[in-house]
């Protein structure tokens, strides 16, 4: 009986944990999307491409400059974030007065261009990026499963970064500006705050979060131009389920749906790829603003 249960656990645990690791990426990516949407009212379709850029920049830093993982974890988000700032200033900022749809089309186009450029430059087969050996110390090796230390780190890092982002937004003065400007940008600007600059920096920060997730992902998935596109569709579903623009909602939903996907792989594997979208459809029908959305 107990042996049977252990066997079941042995089958289930890795899938659930894998779900949690995926959830860590969903949470980071949907968090960045939520921040950008809240402040800029732009659905950033380039988010997946920027995630992929984070992974590539980490690879370039190592291959071309000898800068190891830890350096890349800081530098790649900065570099890709600056790229985001330039994109916002030169292109997205021109679209704020138009319908949402234009921002979506622009960023979708950007995503295609960015992915195309990387495919041209690096091919589509993928480049290897080894995690630092130090993570082996975090390996979890218990009777029911073996979990590589690096994946433990991914979950920890994601939780920490999400928590830090939430704290900045909910508990600091900058966060108060951000929340207020999300509600009524015009009035916040009439108080003497440079809202256009806030929007630029918010976009940069959201993009940096995507790039950070990209660096985390580099050692797990091979670094390839399509890695963002694979993720981003599910991430958009996560955002819809959690509620556009809700910070806590996107984090909780990200981890939650990762877990649900993992469980689905145990219970009914055929559904694992679609369960998120089924939930999305149900949420859209019953609570169109999302589980954590207002209104």
């Amino acid at each position: 009986m107990i042996e049977n249960l252990l066997f079941e656990l042995e089958m289930a645990a890795p899938q659930v944990i894998l779900g949690l690791v995926n959830g860590a990426f969903y949470a980071l990516l949907s968090l960045g999307l939520a921040i950008i949407f809240g402040m800029l009212n732009v659905i950033n379709f380039a988010h997946g491409a920027q995630f992929m850029m984070g992974a590539f920049v980490a690879w370039m830093l190592l291959a071309w400059a000898g800068i190891p993982y830890w350096g890349a974890l800081v530098l790649a988000p900065l570099i890709v974030g600056v790229f985001g700032v330039v994109i916002e200033r030169t292109m997205i900022a021109r679209l704020y007065k138009l319908d949402h749809l234009y921002g979506l089309l622009l960023t979708f186009g950007l995503a295609l261009i960015i992915e195309g450029v990387f495919r041209n430059g690096f091919g589509s087969s993928g480049l290897p990026y080894a995690p630092p050996a130090a993570f082996n110390a975090l390996n979890i090796d218990i009777p029911i499963m073996f979990l590589p230390g690096y994946r433990v780190w991914v979950v920890i890092a994601s939780v920490l970064v999400c928590l830090a982002t939430w704290l900045v937004i909910e508990k600091t003065k900058i966060g108060a500006y951000l929340r207020a400007a999300t509600e009524r940008p015009e009035l916040v600007q009439a108080f003497g705050i440079n809202v256009p600059r806030m929007m630029t920096l918010t976009y940069g920060a959201g993009v940096a979060l995507a790039a950070f997730a990209g660096v985390l992902a580099a050692p797990i998935y091979s670094v390839n131009p399509a890695m963002g596109a694979n993720f981003i569709i599910t991430v958009f579903a996560v955002v819809v389920i959690g509620g556009m623009g809700s910070i806590m909602g996107s984090v909780v939903t990200g981890f939650g749906l990762g877990l649900i996907e993992g469980l689905a792989r145990v219970v009914y594997p055929e559904a694992s790829a679609t369960v998120v979208f089924v939930i999305m459809a149900i949420v859209l029908l019953t609570r169109p603003a999302g589980l954590f959305g207002r209104g």
Binding site: R184, E186, V188, F191, G192, I193
Partner: protein
């Protein structure tokens, strides 16, 4: 010619025009406000009172003419830079942020110059704001929200306050409190431009009244001549 007073105006508006998209809402507004005055803009709905305040803050689509504040032309400035010249704005719908608590709402507008009220003074004037510090801003009563909306711009060091219908939708006893507060801030040397529909209320706080019609100033009445001009005003305001 300028009302016979020697002091130069703190605010001089000349031939201010404003548009929202294609719609031309101000057709040449001219007015002066001297330091320390409380001046109202009276007029019917749609006369352009709110648009005048919004145009002063750079919150309309396009504007032309001249707005000189303390000698400095602000017509070409972005609204955050206008605010930083020392003008603070309290919108008609009060603009209390739902996702910020009372203290965050109060502390939101950045201090732009020395000389604003300190937090202690604010809490003395508005004790409710201290009691409800952690409530979400929009959970306050209408009167409390109005107090909060005014209190937060007293902190910033701005010397000219633009108040858009602070009495609107409030119970008479609260309107009296708002009136007392406006007299108090005048005592403290603030200059106020007040948009009002309720001229009985305006009468209790203001030094002068401008009357607007169809996006223009059509008359100016000193408060001490208000009773003598009642017939004229009734015609303008349709009351």
């Amino acid at each position: 010619m300028r009302d016979g007073t020697a002091a130069p105006a703190m605010l001089e508006i000349r031939d201010l025009q404003a548009w929202y998209g294609e719609s031309h809402v101000l057709h040449g507004v001219s007015l002066d406000i001297r330091e320390g005055e409380v001046v109202t803009l009276l007029g019917r709905n749609g006369a352009g009172k709110t648009s005048t305040l919004r145009a002063m803050m750079g919150l309309v689509g396009r504007r032309a003419g001249s707005i000189r504040f303390e000698g400095r032309e602000t017509i070409g400035l972005r609204s955050d830079l206008i605010a930083r010249t020392g003008i603070a704005y309290c919108p008609e719908e009060r603009g209390i942020f739902a996702s910020l608590d009372v203290t965050e709402n109060l502390m939101l507008p950045p201090v732009i110059a020395p000389g604003g009220l300190g937090l202690d003074e604010i809490y003395t004037l508005f004790p409710n704001l201290k009691e409800r510090a952690r409530s979400p801003g929009t959970k306050l009563s209408g009167g409390e929200q109005q107090m909060l909306a005014i209190a937060r711009i007293l902190r910033t060091g701005a010397r000219l306050l633009l108040l858009d219908e602070p009495s609107e939708g409030l119970a008479p006893v609260i309107v009296q409190q708002i009136g007392a507060m406006i007299r108090e801030i005048k005592q403290r040397g603030f200059t106020v431009l007040l948009v009002e529909q309720n001229f009985r209320f305006a009468q209790t706080v203001a030094d002068r009244h401008y009357v607007m019609e169809h996006g223009r100033i059509v008359d100016m009445v000193a408060n001490d001549q208000l009773t003598a001009s009642l017939d004229r005003l009734h015609e303008y305001l349709g009351v």
